[in-house]
Assembly symmetry: C2
């Protein structure tokens, strides 16, 4: 994955990735990308035809890299619910720490244009039919888990992991905790989130 992998075309794509992830589709100007890639603006259209086509490539790759992990993880029949929670927290706290723009980028892009992306994501992951949800429902039947909507459990898990990355600037503003210190503290959550999720399962 070296920067010279494919010359100009690759350089434009990586510049687009950077700028789109930072600003989103609308706020990104093709000239921003051209400048970031250090190329003439016309090259962008030569290689990718249009801003939208270039964006779609980035969006598809980002969705892919984000969801590929969770799909195999949540459909693994060899791990327990508890283990899945821990794997999920560890994997995504690492992923989102590495690129802090991924979470807001994906959420805001889907939010701006739900119809376009709901279909695309729907194919990737039918949460309802996942082995994870199957395990959860079995837990309820056995009496290990209180009979709450599994949606709450999913939302809580995703929220505990992802929300701090989305709200970081706002939380820094209201708590006056600087960004780097905040991000360090988030690492503790790899250990804490599985324990919290476990403890929540005693609530009915």
């Amino acid at each position: 994955m070296s920067k010279k992998e494919k010359g100009t075309e690759y350089k434009i794509k990586e510049a687009a990735r950077k700028v789109f992830l930072e600003k989103g589709f609308t706020a990104t100007k093709t000239r921003d990308i051209a400048e970031e890639a250090d190329i003439n603006l016309a090259l962008l259209n030569y290689y990718f035809r249009s801003k939208k086509k270039l964006f779609d490539i980035i969006m598809t790759e980002t969705l892919q890299s984000f969801f590929s992990g969770v799909i195999s993880m949540f459909n693994d029949e060899r791990t327990t619910l508890k283990e899945k929670v821990s794997l999920f927290a560890n994997h995504y706290i690492d992923l989102l720490s590495e690129n802090q723009n991924i979470a807001p980028f994906l959420i805001n892009t889907v939010r701006e244009n739900p119809d376009e992306y709901i279909a695309k994501i729907g194919i990737l992951d039918k949460a309802k039919e996942s082995f994870f949800v199957k395990q959860f429902m079995e837990g309820i039947t056995k009496g290990d888990i209180p009979p709450i909507n599994p949606l709450h459990f999913m939302v809580n898990l995703i929220g505990l992991v992802v929300f701090p990355f989305i709200a970081q600037p706002m939380i820094s503003a209201i708590s006056s905790i600087p960004e780097d210190q905040f991000l360090n503290t988030l690492q503790e959550r790899k250990r804490l989130i599985p324990l919290w999720m476990e403890s929540m399962l005693s609530v009915k």
Copy 2:
């Protein structure tokens, strides 16, 4: 608060509120606001001088209406931690249900321009000096609460309440649960979040 309260100026402001909350500053075109308010574009600049000045009014009012609740709530010396959590969940689930754009609007606006708004919010609420955090630290001293960073507790509470509203389109996409059904389910969280927060306090 009738729509005719102040004539044209008020009409423009309410149109601006609607469009800005939906799309944010950059993606909003002054012509969108003019059309929504059913006025000539020049009137917007006549009454408010510029797009930015109009935006700042809306942003300030929205910050105000969002944070005024939490400030008095978290500094109330007559309520327990537990009660504060319940009041917070009830108040904000109602507020965010009424206008589903508030949460993403505020978070994304601060995110786009942290420096501009950190100061503005910092004045409003010094979380660290709140009675809430004082109560929390006392709980740790007494041994009622495990010695974790209160930041986690705040992030978890805010996240459990706010995250579903931000991620709704994305969660609808991956769980194929329609928006209205999702929002209904969120009402259950007024009851559940205080119980979850309570149960998390047994984790160390």
